[in-house]
């Protein structure tokens, strides 16, 4: 077992454990913190894969901005003593568990029986901002501009939706 495998296992266990904690913890604030740690673990996996730029972006956007947005969303809604009554649709949870479990089983069966890389794989050591920028402003310049429009529309739309209605 080499160093990469150890780091992969550490990050994978942190990511999965924090994702389970997001489902299982009782307080909403603890759940959001667990989600942030899951994002950090995924960023560590990106560094392990040699994609440094994506890892940095993951930390900035997900672990930073999205987590802060979630904390604000949590603060502006009901977050103390959130207890819901009994679930009116009892079969819902069982059916969801069965469906998701079946999907996971099929996915894992397919993935672990797959033989993709017959030769010894080599890490692509070029996940730098230079390479990504050349590709982004070369082949993908039209989607990049479209993404700018999407982010502008999302910014304006979020403000318009969330503000108080004028009397």
């Amino acid at each position: 077992m080499n160093t990469q495998m150890i780091f992969f296992l550490v990050f994978a266990i942190i990511a999965i454990a924090c994702a389970v904690l997001v489902m299982k913890l009782s307080r909403i604030s603890h759940r959001v913190v667990a989600m942030a740690f899951s994002f950090f673990a995924v960023a560590g996996l990106y560094f392990l894969l040699g994609a440094e730029f994506i890892g940095i972006i993951q930390i900035i956007v997900y672990a930073g901005a999205v987590t802060i947005l979630f904390i604000f969303g949590m603060m502006m809604t009901e977050h103390r003593n959130v207890t819901f009554g009994s679930h009116p649709r009892k079969a819902h949870r069982v059916l969801s568990f069965l469906g998701v479990g079946t999907l996971l089983g099929v996915l894992l069966y397919g993935i672990l029986n797959m033989d993709l890389a017959t030769k010894e794989p080599t890490i692509y050591e070029k996940g730098t901002a230079h390479e990504i920028g050349l590709e982004l402003y070369g082949n993908y310049v039209v989607p990049l501009i479209g993404m700018g429009f999407l982010l502008t529309a999302a910014l304006i739309g979020a403000i318009v939706i969330a503000r108080k209605e004028a009397k």
Partner: protein
């Protein structure tokens, strides 16, 4: 060297945890957080194929950037909708918001 199958298996597990959360959790903020977990799993797949797949290429990482941008826009609009829903109905229980259910 970690084989790509382990990364894909990890992404599948994270995706299924997120999907289960979307289907069963009742707090709206947690439902949105589960959607973010699912998008993260997809990003792991893209970066894994970009770095150690059969054909290594930078394109997967460019696509990951686009997915991250769309996720940021989605969470901004989603939380705005959530706040508007909470202001109008006074509840963040998913089951209370069933106007479009037949």
């Amino acid at each position: 060297m970690v084989s790509i199958n382990l990364y894909l298996a990890l992404a599948a597990i994270l995706f299924c945890i997120g999907l289960y959360g979307v289907l069963t959790r009742r707090h709206l903020v947690i439902v949105l957080a589960s959607v973010e977990l699912m998008l993260n799993a997809v990003n792991i797949n893209l970066v894994a194929f970009s770095s150690i797949g059969p054909v290594v290429n930078i394109t997967g990482q460019v696509f990951t950037l686009f997915v991250i941008s769309v996720a940021a826009a989605e969470v901004a609009v989603g939380l705005a909708i959530l706040i508007a829903l909470y202001r109008n109905k006074g509840s963040i229980d998913v089951i209370k918001h069933d106007l479009l259910r037949w």
